[in-house]
Amino acid sequence: MKKIFSGIEGFDDITCGGLPFGRTTLLMGGAGSGKTVLALQIMVSTAVKHSTPGIFVAFEENARRVAANGEIFGWDIPGLEKQRLYFIDACVQSDVVKSGSFDLAGLLSIIEAKAKEMGAKLIIFDAIDVLLSLLDDPAAECRELYRLNEWLTHHQLTGILTAKVEDGQPAISRRYGFMPFMADCAVLLSQRVADRVAARTIRVLKYRGSPHVLNEVPFVIGQHGIEVGSSNGVHPEPQPFDEKISTGVERLDEMLCGGIYRGTNTLITGSSGGGKSTLAGAFIEAACGRGERALFISLDENSRDIVRDLATLSIDLTPYLDSGLLRMESVRTESASSEEHFMRVKRMIHEQHPRCVVIDPLSALARVGGGLAARAVAERLIYLCRNKGITVLFTSLMEGSDPHLETTTLHVSTISDSWIQISYALLDGERNRALSIIKSRGSKHSSQMRELIFSEAGITLADPYTAGGEVLMGTLRQEKENAATLEKEGAL
């Protein structure tokens, strides 16, 4: 089957290669679901990439406005209009008087003439429901739609029809229930709100003569148009690296027997104020120190604050930020769905080409778009980095007071390669930070719990001192240390 490759990332995946050539596709969705943008994007993309001219017939919105909206996404519509694109403004005038029966023969002969003139192969009928509602008669609507379909087939034109439907119930939508039956390919776009966060999804309802992805797939309307979160992302397995890189904390590297493997991901968990971001900062500083490009994404925290806080621990990221080696982005989680965040991060990675990435904290994603969706996004982020050979360090907030409850909000610990836990050790009236390595795939690691010390000199881990089966920390450790030093001196 010949298909029109849409050039929209993800969309060609779910349609297994694009829309059917010389046939009719129906894009359905509620108001503001992105039907028009998708149709326009397909037309622009085929005009640019395959030099296939197209005609856009706008029934609802002013055609000039549709074109102007396209320019917002950076599509060169005026340039394309010289040869390959033509907009027909077919807004139905409200003051028209109806008397007796009429049909679409006129419109079709107009389009036919224009299509012949410019060699157009793709025709978009945007908001066909508006035109049909003019007929005001279900039987006539059905008849005219079939006329349109037959006309497209007869002239070997590819048609994309967009139509409004009651959100979520296309087949039950009484009035145009027959539309999906007529079309060779039907796609449903929806917009749903979960936990006050709106998320867009796309689903191929039917596709005659072609396999397609059945699932509902998330998509976003971003800066450059629609991006569909492809679900059948079959990627080649990345080559594993043998190289180990530093975490930025010398003693932590020792505990990990030389650091973490390049291209793997490390999870740092801990409660609020535990020092997760600080460790992430050290990791990034080390990456930049090696001259590697890096990306630091902080969720719900101002990146300048992070830079300032890190500076007090002698971790200075400013020169790397100035040189562009490091890019720091702070993202407000509540501003978008987790899916949109994924797309954003993907774009950032695409632009920055980092070798090391920090996402701090990944668990903030759980705050938007529902737990399951956020978990899927978190996993995809990790796989995205893995497939690109990027070493990623992400943090996750541990909720609750039980330090032994070693689960993460997004359950990402299962797919992480290394897992470092920062907890508070309460001992003898003191609260001290304790670091332990829970897992480190493919590598030996220390199983000791060590005190994590932040000071002006930087980050370090104290030597382990145990007493009565407990790791000593804080003042008790210092006492023991002092005693040991004295002992040594005494021995000398």
């Binding site: 003051d95 008397s99 007796g100 009429f102 679409l104 006129g106």
Partner: protein, 105 residues
């Protein structure tokens, strides 16, 4: 020619119509017959009907944004009005033209 009709050339308050049809489609044929009958009855001797076949002159229809056939545009007297359909509902046409409705028998 049509531009001129808008302004100076309309002869003595005559009704000027443009009828867009799609070849010999049944509703197009009916529209012509109905429009002709209304004109003969209400504006005897003072009407002009220009028939445009969209099949032959699609670009003219595009300029006028005529999407469905048949479509009648009354150009004069002002204001211009647009009626779609085969004009079988006569009262709707009469009302649009500002004429009294036909009495029900």
């Amino acid at each position: 020619m049509t531009e001129a009709l808008h302004t100076t050339e309309h002869p003595n308050g005559a009704y000027v119509f443009k009828l867009y049809i799609a070849g010999g489609a049944p509703n197009s044929v009916r529209a012509y017959a109905n429009l002709y009958a209304i004109c003969r009855k209400h504006f005897p001797g003072s009407h002009r009907i220009e028939v445009i076949d969209i099949m032959k002159e699609p670009m003219r229809a595009l300029e006028e944004k005529v999407l469905v056939t048949p479509t009648v545009i009354k150009l004069f007297p002002f204001p211009a009005i647009r009626i779609i359909g085969d004009l079988s509902e006569e009262n709707a046409v009469l009302t649009a033209l500002g004429l009294p409705q036909k009495e029900k028998p």
